[in-house]
Symmetry: C2
Subunit: 419 residues, 2 copies
């Protein structure tokens, strides 16, 4: 069976895909739309006549059966893919922003045209998490999902831990290596992870997720002192994307977490990604691999394409109907309960411990440990960890602590994974 | 869409499947063949009239579209499944022994009848490794595959490490917890892992594997001294099933390995399973989860069943045609190269180091480290590790070491993962 495809975009992933397609003569590239023709010609991966600057030539080409979208962006790209679907082409995309924000609209157009949208490459690069959730694990209710799904921040946190680097030095190194962009906001403030967890949460819940309601906190405030305190207590700090399926409510968030070292997620190093799911039947299942990169991401695109070819006309309903119509009820961050790690700087004098003790007692926060250290002059630091309390209670407690005359500052507060 | 199924066997996995099927009214169980009727009736999972002692009633029942085989065994089971296929039923099986030894015959009968055999549950319990290799990762040449695919031995090695238990104490505990059988040979001597790696190797190579040619070494000889030496040097000892795809040859083996602690596989604890693949496009990708257990294994069976239902009449060719016809050329263990860890007990006297040095030099074995310790009276122990040499060279070197008058005994020799 031969399939004729068109490709929108020929950057990192697009050129990786063309590289892989060398081994697949049955997949015939008809047209590739690019921004920069000379650059595309110089790749030497395809007959130069097959490149065009006009993406309309791809999405309306009557010979093309599948459009592979690797150009990124939202508005223009959405228009192009709607044209492709209306022209009876299947769509494969790696565009997380688009699927997360316009999934409902796109899936409706696909359904109306009897076509399908595959998007394995949109989340966690080479890790086939979406296909697994939709196929092999379909017999499970996914109760909890934890992801390290932003490679840039994982690299930065890993460098801070291994090399003792500051956040800004580790970021600079990530930028030098091409893992982070010159404006790193999308990665370090958790936007990228939020798009991806929205997609995964929509799959495990079968509902539409309002991106703007996802609680999101990045890693800019993580300091060497945090990393060292975590290490000392047997934790690693990871930026986790979390989706907890609580039946009528979904608890979705992205924030740094103290992860106990014995957990697999604590040992996911460098720029790797990982997704841990807890299924009603399968229990805990973890996938670890490359979350980005030319060939790894192209592997997911090619996997989608080969599945599409294999399933052919009878393309299975679980891919076609992504029920993005009903909106999920998201749990308010104020009601979410977590254990917390807190570090305060304080005046080293009689009574501070009693003050902290009274405040934690008043807020029903059971103290797991407290560790006072680095006493210099009249100044000292204290780390402590408390059993799960709600964010609302935590904020109240924090306010009371900050008002204590003996406290100089709350230096850090980080949620702790409790599993 | 409704599907009518029959089940052979209702033990751990069978009862787990019936439990999961409570949520799937569209999957109708027509008949379940069991050995012990009263026991099956007591499960309370199904109308007692649906149980039979006669498996023929399942495989010839005209209403049944899919036969799920969870009874185990080879000869009788093979006959039953051939009857099922010839009666135009799809087959789903969790039977690794059967797929590994009679796959060729069964797949041929399935093909002749236009039916398919799914066997996700045969390897690594709840981990969907087979479906991933056949679908999402299909665009990859799998160059290397490393598996911790026997939960019993992983549990035993983990207990030895955490609790300082001897092999026999850890085995006794595994037996008490139901992880190991009263005759533990199948697990601890690597037979179970060999069946599973044969199946995985046949998938990544597209060839038939002769089970009898797989090199296999269990964990009976692993001692506390080995575990401690590994720990001291930054390794964990794991029973790995290995398949290296070297183009014209396959290198397949099962044996204990020193795994560097920073590798994900070194941190797979308790009775968990893991499979790490190294794909030409995706790079390293690791799956970690439950390798056994009622619901976890049933999750894989149900996943197969749901996929079968979704793909229906057009069931994809990659599942139907398992090309088990051409026999793989297996690399002889004598030609396999590995680094080795070696421990010797020796007389503590002048010249021993020179003797060892001469022998390693003569055999082209570059020494990575040597550590002499536990000197008592005239006796001492020495650990050393050498760079990769062939098994043949290693045996020759070992012989020379054993013949040294200063050496009392070679206490241990274990291969090292070199990645």
């Amino acid at each position: 069976m031969v399939v004729k495809i068109g490709i929108l975009g020929c950057g990192t992933v697009g050129s990786g895909l063309l590289e892989l397609l060398k081994n697949y003569p049955e997949i015939q590239v008809q047209k590739v739309a690019v921004r920069d023709l000379p650059k595309a010609h110089n790749l030497g991966l395809l007959d130069t006549a097959l490149f065009t600057k006009n993406p309309e030539e791809v999405v309306t080409n009557p010979d093309i059966e599948v459009v592979v979208e690797l150009m990124g962006g939202i508005e223009l790209t959405k228009k192009l893919l709607i044209t492709a679907l209306n022209n009876k082409k299947h769509v494969i995309t790696a565009n997380k922003d688009l699927v997360a924000t316009a999934g409902e609209e796109l899936f409706a157009v696909a359904k109306a045209n009897g076509k399908t949208i595959f998007y394995e490459a949109a989340v966690a690069g080479g890790i086939p998490i979406i296909t697994n959730l939709k196929q092999s694990l379909k017999g499970n209710v996914i109760k909890r999902l934890f992801g390290i799904i932003n490679g840039t921040t994982n690299f930065i946190l890993d460098q801070m831990k291994r090399k003792g680097a500051s956040f800004s030095d580790a970021l600079a190194q990530a930028q030098e290596l091409g893992y982070a962009e010159s404006d790193p906001t999308n990665d370090v403030d958790g936007h990228d992870a939020a798009y991806k967890i929205a997609i995964l949460a929509s799959i495990i819940s079968g509902k539409k997720i309002d991106m703007t309601k996802i609680y999101r906190e990045g890693i800019r405030n993580i300091s060497q002192a945090d990393i060292k305190s975590a290490e000392k207590r047997g934790y690693a700090i990871k930026l986790l994307a979390i989706a907890l399926n609580e039946g009528d409510e979904l608890d979705i968030r992205v924030h740094p977490v103290f992860v106990p070292k014995e957990k697999t997620l604590a040992n996911v190093n460098a720029e790797n990604n990982a997704v841990m799911i807890d299924g009603s039947a399968v229990g805990e299942l973890t996938f670890i691999g490359r979350g980005a990169g030319s060939l790894a991401t192209a592997s997911s695109v090619l996997g989608d394409l080969l599945m599409l070819m294999n399933q052919g006309a009878n393309i299975s309903s679980q891919f076609m109907v992504a029920p993005h119509t009903e909106e999920a009820k998201l749990k308010s961050i104020n009601d979410v309960k977590n254990p917390f790690y807190i570090r305060v700087s304080m005046h080293d004098k009689v009574g501070v411990l009693k003050d902290l003790g009274l405040i934690t007692e008043r807020n029903n926060a059971n103290v797991r440990f407290i560790d006072q250290y680095e006493i210099k002059g009249d100044s000292a630091l204290a780390d402590f960890m408390i059993d799960p309390i709600s964010e609302k209670s935590m904020k109240q407690m924090l306010k009371e602590i900050q008002e204590l005359p003996s406290i100089k500052a709350v230096e850090s507060i980080i949620r702790v994974l409790d599993v």
